[in-house]
């Protein structure tokens, strides 16, 4: 086997898998409860946790080079740039009280 490549254990895979299934059940359950403004943040938090589990363990970022970690994070950072700078427009429309500004 080539040096430096981490082979994930079956036990770890199964634990992550179970965690993902449990979180899926949780997100369905919590969606049926009325949490007011909190429904979406909770759903997103659960989704992010699941995505992180997949990225870190199944995709092996945990055992990868710092460069790969940077690349993996940078995609999401750039997405946030798009969201923040874009919503910066939508959420502040009408602040002046002038139509169209």
């Amino acid at each position: 086997m080539s040096s430096g490549h981490h082979v994930p254990s079956i036990g770890m895979c199964v634990r992550v898998w179970l965690a993902l299934l449990v979180l899926t059940g949780f997100t369905i359950f919590i969606a049926s409860q009325d949490l007011g403004m909190l429904n979406t943040p909770v759903a997103l938090l659960v989704a992010c946790t699941k995505a992180t589990l997949v990225i870190v363990f199944f995709m092996g970022v945990k055992w990868n080079t710092p460069l790969t970690k940077t690349v993996a994070v940078s995609g999401f950072v750039w997405l946030l740039i798009l969201f923040f700078m874009g919503m910066n427009d939508y959420l502040t429309r009408g602040w002046l009280g002038v139509a169209g500004r």
Partner: protein
């Protein structure tokens, strides 16, 4: 950059070592880095759609809840489970490839493919139901529904449609590496194609992890 030449491959280069690389390690690192960079572009690709989602959900919160309630969250949830199961078998396939275990590799790739196909079949029935209920945007859209719902369904079809397209491509990749694995192409030195295919498959799973709560579960609590 690691230039440490594997003593074995220095003596006799691995048959799968391409001539412009120094070593199998360098080749593998290039492949995985390449896949990660590609996945960044995929994140941005779906990102444009998520941007539209955020804008319109913020604009039409009520229509979003109404429209989401029209989706079948049970089928969506089933598909989420199916994809999560396919992710673990994919991870196990990569593990088997790293260890040079051909048989386990084949079994896991096969299960992954079957689960992927299951996902698409379920998706097909969901789409069919939407057509029957006039929930497809355009001239045949149910006119009694409120404004904003048409945008939701436009986004729903584009997002899940492009996701499904990625699944189809993923199945093609699975078929390819299954055949290659059958031929015994991969070993403990050369498993980069299996590993990068796995990265792709997991990514498609992650997209669905976000799509499921954002599209299917908004109407569940009846706000």
């Amino acid at each position: 950059m690691s230039n440490s030449t594997n003593p074995v491959s220095a003596a006799k280069p691995h048959p799968k070592l391409q001539s412009h690389f120094f070593s199998m390690d360098q080749q593998l690192e290039a492949s995985t880095l390449g896949m990660w960079v590609f996945l960044v572009t995929e994140v941005m690709f779906f990102g444009g759609l998520f941007m539209a989602y955020i804008v319109y959900r913020n604009m039409y919160p009520h229509a979003w809840v109404e429209a989401s309630a029209e989706l079948n969250w049970k089928l969506g949830g089933l598909n989420t489970g199916v994809l999560i199961c396919s992710s673990i078998t994919m991870a196990l396939a990569v593990r088997a490839a790293m260890m040079g275990n051909r048989k386990q590799q084949l079994i896991n790739i096969a299960i992954t493919s079957i689960l992927g196909a299951t996902f698409l079949v379920v998706k097909f029935f969901e789409y069919k139901a939407k057509f029957e209920h006039h929930l497809v945007p355009g001239p045949h859209f149910d006119p009694s529904l409120e404004q904003g719902m048409q945008i939701f369904f436009s986004l729903y079809f584009v997002m899940t449609g492009i996701h499904a397209l990625h699944m189809v491509i993923g199945l093609g990749i699975m078929a390819y590496i299954f055949i290659q694995a059958w031929k015994g192409t991969y070993d403990a030195e050369y498993f980069a194609p299996v590993e990068v295919s796995g990265l792709y498959w997991h990514f498609v799973d992650i997209v669905w992890i976000f799509l499921f709560p954002l599209l299917y579960l908004l109407g569940a609590h009846g706000a």
